[in-house]
């Protein structure tokens, strides 16, 4: 990877011209452990424009994480293909950064080493870059701490800093805030939106929290469970920048009711 656009010294300037469109073309993923045929993702087609923020909402076990794994390149789809900027993906890549559900900072490295690891592996590590990113995430002074010394929320912010250090066009986030307490979660949601506003990266964000999905996204993809299919894609035409006060507006509650209705309908069908 010697793509020059990957190293953007000034995020605000680079904001307008980023790649990072995702196209998922009839992707299915079937697991076959001990001859048991389990369809995790069933024929999902989805297009995400560069710079768009899309959340995927669904009950646990609906295959939303599998979908993310296919886009990240961790697993090959059984059929169908994933395209990024028009090219079929081949395994994981630095252009698609991933934030994991439970913290996956490397426990044997300090926070600074963790943030620097991406650039270091590509031979492009800059002095002071890690501190700059940590400060941006409100983590100044944690450089020499080990991950286990930080709280859950701080760890998750450090993981976002690690991803930003690589300057990927796409951020794939797999329920990154689900293990946090409500207050920390809200704070991180606002922080993530700021980062997204500044840098204009494409974000695919997986969650099972309806409010979180609507608050963050341009579009919400509602998935059905077993097998995982796209039930509906809901446009969220709420103005930006957003802050948490808008979660009490009439517009927001109307959207929330609509999505909840979709989910309940789905749950009823599943029970029959």
């Amino acid at each position: 990877m010697t793509d020059n656009t990957q190293i953007a010294p000034n995020e605000t300037d680079a904001a307008t011209e980023r790649d990072g469109s995702i196209h998922v073309e009839s992707v299915s993923k079937v697991y076959d452990p001990d001859g048991e045929h389990v369809v995790a993702v069933d024929d999902v087609t989805l297009h995400i424009d560069a710079g768009e923020f899309v959340t995927v909402l669904g009950p646990s076990g609906c295959g939303k994480s599998t979908l993310l794994e296919c886009i990240a390149g961790f697993t090959d789809p059984t059929s169908g293909n994933v395209y990024v900027d028009g090219e079929i993906i081949d395994g994981p890549s630095a252009e698609r950064g991933v934030v994991f559900q439970s913290n996956r900072l490397l426990p044997w490295m300090t926070i600074e080493e963790n943030v620097d690891i991406g650039p270091k592996m590509r031979g492009a590590v800059e002095d002071g870059r890690a501190s700059q990113l940590l400060e941006r995430m409100g983590l100044e002074g944690t450089e020499n701490a080990y991950p286990s010394e930080l709280s859950g929320g701080m760890q998750q912010r450090a993981e976002i800093a690690r991803l930003l250090a690589n300057d990927p066009d796409i951020m794939l986030m797999d329920e990154p805030f689900s293990a946090l307490d409500a207050l920390t979660k809200e704070m991180l949601q606002e922080m993530l939106l700021e980062v997204w506003d500044d840098d204009n990266r494409t974000v695919l964000f997986i969650t099972h929290d309806v409010e979180e999905a609507l608050f963050l996204a341009d579009r919400v993809l509602v998935m059905t469970a077993g097998p995982g299919r796209v039930k509906e894609i809901v446009d969220v035409d709420l103005e930006r920048p957003r802050d948490l006060s808008m979660t009490t507006t009439e517009e927001f509650t109307a959207l929330k009711d609509r999505v909840l209705h979709l989910i309940h309908e789905e749950a009823r069908e599943a029970m029959e």
Binding site: P92, S93, F100, L106, M109, I117, G118, M121, R122, S148
Partner: protein, 260 residues
């Protein structure tokens, strides 16, 4: 269980030391009682054994025996670590290597290392190489198995994290597989050192060399004080070599101690 005891363990206070002395005194008392009542014939008491130990420390024969044994231990242990750790990392990381190498090692593993000695005496060129091979086997399997286990216990998402940050296979090995397996490698090295001594003493008694030979000769010549004294010496040497490994481990694994 509490933090207070954890700190006490690292920095033994005077109180703690005196408790240990009480425990030690109890042991000596039981020993004295057994030997003076004559419950077990021929067993020397603590005073006789300690006198013999002091005399032993100035004895050139024991110096030679101890240096031979330490050479055996050092050589075998280093070879076991140099082969066991890289092989364990590969077996744990790559399924193909696992399937091709591990089954034949699994056939050999349940054999108590000392059982090989009649065969190695026949096959290998010298007694010394037989003893070292047995000692090597004692250390090799714990190191190998713990290394493999260490790799298997690594959270797969760590590998994914490195891959999604643009890391190659080499990056995964250097940043995840090796450091992730390190605590378990360390456990393997500590257990391996213990079993190296177990097998060394056995092999030296059978093959008649080093400190094992000294213990056995003391027995056959009826010098019971020297038996007990040299057994104490072996215990001290074994303990010291395990402490060296533990010390290196603590220094290498500073990040794991934060979880305490």
């Amino acid at each position: 269980m509490s933090t207070a005891t954890a700190i006490e363990r690292r920095l033994p206070s005077l109180f703690e030391v005196s408790r240990r002395l009480v425990s030690l005194a109890g042991l000596v008392l039981v020993w004295t009682a057994i030997s003076s009542v004559g419950l077990i014939g021929g067993l020397p008491g603590p005073v006789a054994a300690l006198t013999a130990l002091v005399a032993l420390l100035g004895n050139p024969i024991i110096h030679e025996s101890v240096s031979i044994s330490l050479l055996h231990i050092l050589g075998s242990f280093v070879i076991a670590a140099v082969i066991g750790v890289p092989l364990g990392l590969l077996i744990g990381w790559k399924t193909v290597v696992h399937d091709l190498v591990f089954p034949s090692l699994e056939i050999l593993r349940p054999v108590p290392p000392i059982a090989w000695i009649p065969l190695t005496i026949l096959v290998l060129p010298s007694m010394r190489s037989s003893i070292m091979f047995i000692t090597f086997l004692g250390a090799f399997f714990p190191i190998l198995l713990n290394t493999i286990q260490g790799v298997h216990d690594i959270e797969p998402d760590y590998v994914r994290a490195i891959e999604s940050l643009g890391g190659t296979s080499t990056d995964v090995f250097r940043n995840v597989i090796y450091p992730g397996a390190l605590p378990s490698i360390h456990t393997g090295l500590v257990i391996g050192m213990g079993l190296a001594w177990v097998n060394l003493v056995a092999a030296e008694m059978v093959a008649d060399e080093g400190i094992g030979r000294f213990v056995w000769v003391s027995y056959t010549s009826g010098n019971f004080e020297n038996i007990v004294a040299s057994v104490i010496l072996i215990g001290a040497l074994g303990y010291a070599s395990s402490e060296v490994i533990r010390f290196v481990g603590r220094w290498q694994l500073s990040w794991t101690q934060l979880d305490d």
